[in-house]
Assembly symmetry: C2
Homo-oligomer: 403 residues x 2
């Protein structure tokens, strides 16, 4: 069996944890399996490097930031190779140049295009555990790129796909994917299986266990993922195309407080207004989530939408810049103290009344809904952030306690 | 003009010093020159990484140590590019893969074989300051190698040779090359010029200003070096083939306490004994310095030699291992408290009596000589380490005060 394992920064934060990971990999190797391990930078290393960069130049180019950050994973893989060696397991560390991981040109947020497998295969044939730097790649200019936060998951999935691995295990600091955040919802429980689509919705809603792009890639190439804890031997959660074991209407409840609402009030009611508005934002890489349009007073219209709170400043600045120019409106309102609550489940496609049941749960605990958005397998509502905990618990228990 | 500048770890140890170096490079760039800058890892970074490696695995493989250490220079060049950018100077950082710096395969002590200049030239044509990681290379297996301590000097000289640079400036924390270590000899003074050969002898004797291999390479490719301070604008010392300005008998006095004496007593007096002895040491990479052979009592012979104190343990262990086998002797003595004092000067080739004058100086201050070694432009004596300071001062003032 060829197994790709991915460990995040917390799993390699210090000597003890490095040896914990090394021991797990050694165990796998001793079973006679071929083992490829993708690692992130140790602990807070990436943040420390970023702070160093900001201290030197707050407007440092993304090209140089990537050059700086990629050292983090290289340190992790080198130290892990040394730990495995100390345990008597032959190992070799490889960075993005050595593998080689080809990406698009965009610094800071590149996409993997192609992974050469020759070097990795050679090392595996020589009976070595292969340690690969996550999160990083090389673009056509022969420059380092990074895949964006959480990119190590994507590296692992892409490697598993390229190597036709038998399994891709994503180790994290939780046991698997839960029906809700266990820190918020006391009745949350671990799922044994979940579909790619459900996981995608959960990831994009801030459930945070897996990087969105890694799930997309796993779905595309049919890489079966296992999400499990690096701290114990629990089974974890399997992410795959079709889930047979559990036929649940709703698989999980997710919440996200990294959201803010912008209301553009009193826009001219003319064709192309919405296009112009969102085009400006797209050009500044501001992703818009829920959108709601309503007819305002005196023949104008209002458009409300949510953005990540991180992007709020950029979004408002962009809109203000174009206000009076191509974007004529009366005012721009901002609301920060909001949160999203979502239910996700492949089962809801064929089942009417799921949304209504969610609204009922919220009504029961007196939570007001500000905006609603739905997809085939998801219902999301925007609520006051102060009500988040009771809302998530109420929704979770409505759907996931009864079953 | 194309100028290669090299700055060591202390010169880039913190934000302030990074900006100090950036300002110097900016100044050079603004004169209309093409600027290539070779950097070492920041401050004690290499030592910190080495300590981390030892903590994980005291016997870590050299391949993985090199993989770890090369991150140090990459951090330096990325941060320097950011600093130059902040000063309005376009800059780009390149590591050993990007340049590409081809070396021999030996990890930890590789030799540069070939430097591709395409990428560097392209970046220079695009009017960028090019920041290159010192000390590191890539071998034929596509693995990182390092050039050994002080290897950044070699990187700079090799780059200057490959690019046919007009100047190669080595910035350090001293003003230039001195007639003796100013911390030991109060009358020491800075040299304006020195020949490659003299510099080579001084470097190998622990004068420590320039890495030996960098001087060898500079001599081989005729790269004129300037050694100067990164902290002031003093002229520094020029290292070149022929020195015209100063016709000194002796250019400098060097001392080295990283030395120990091993005496192998009572060896069989047969052909091949010396060969076997030093062959064993060479196989364990122990470099031997001064060698002295004398006929002992009862038809045996004694061989004494000096090694670096760092290598002493390895040397003695090697000899003990072969004792009784291919190496028959009565005993092996070790003396640690010794030091070397040397005078170096291209002028002494054509001048008899230089050695005698040195011995006289030592006799004047009552220092006993344990061993003597000479080359065309050098005389070295081994003395008791406790007498080092007075010996160096006496020798220095004998030759270098009178002129």
């Amino acid at each position: 069996m060829l197994i790709v394992k991915k460990f995040g920064g917390t799993s390699v934060a210090d000597k003890e944890r490095i040896y914990n990971v090394a021991a797990r990999c050694a165990e796998e190797y001793k079973k006679g399996n071929e083992v490829v391990v993708v690692l992130s930078a140790m602990g807070k290393q990436t943040d420390i490097l970023l702070a160093q960069a900001r201290d030197i130049n707050p407007n440092a180019s993304k090209r140089e930031i990537d050059m700086l950050l990629t050292t983090g994973e290289q340190i992790s893989v080198a130290l892990m190779a040394m730990a495995l060696d100390a345990l008597g397991i032959p190992a070799v560390s490889l960075n993005a140049f050595q593998v080689a991981m080809h990406t698009t040109s965009v610094y800071g947020n590149a996409r993997l295009k192609r992974i050469d497998t020759d070097r990795v295969r050679n090392e595996l044939e020589n009976k070595r555990v292969v340690l690969v730097t996550g999160f990083q790649g090389v673009n056509k200019y022969d420059d380092y790129t990074t895949l964006g936060r959480g990119g190590s998951d994507t590296t692992a999935v892409a490697l598993a796909a390229a190597l036709h691995a038998d399994a891709c295990e994503i180790y994290t600091d939780v046991d698997g994917v839960y029906t809700a955040d266990p820190r918020v919802v006391k009745n949350a429980r671990k799922l044994n299986e979940i579909t790619y689509d459900e996981m995608l919705e959960l990831a994009s809603l801030g459930a945070g266990v897996l990087h969105n792009r890694s799930v997309e890639m796993a779905k595309k190439y049919g890489v079966q993922l296992v999400v499990r804890s690096s701290l114990n031997n629990e089974e974890g959660t399997i992410v795959k195309e079709v889930v047979n074991m559990e036929k649940m209407l709703v698989s999980g409840v997710a919440s996200d407080t990294n959201t803010a609402r912008i209301a553009v009030i009193g826009l001219e009611d003319q064709p192309g207004v919405a296009f112009k508005l969102f085009n400006h934002l797209a050009r500044h890489n501001v992703n818009v989530d829920i959108i709601l349009q309503s007819v305002g007073r005196d023949g104008t219209k209002d458009i409300s939408f949510t953005v990540k709170e991180d992007d709020l400043e950029e979004a408002v600045a962009t809109l203000e810049r174009h206000r009076g120019g191509s974007l004529k409106c009366q005012k721009i309102d901002v609301e920060r103290d909001v949160a999203k609550v979502s239910i996700v489940g492949a089962g809801m496609m064929s089942n009417a009344g799921v949304a209504a049941k969610m609204f009922e749960a919220l009504y029961d605990v007196g939570v007001n809904i500000k905006m609603i958005s739905t997809s085939e397998i998801r219902v999301t509502v925007l609520i006051n952030a102060a009500h988040l905990e009771k809302a998530v618990n109420a929704v979770h228990d409505k759907f996931l306690m009864a079953q």
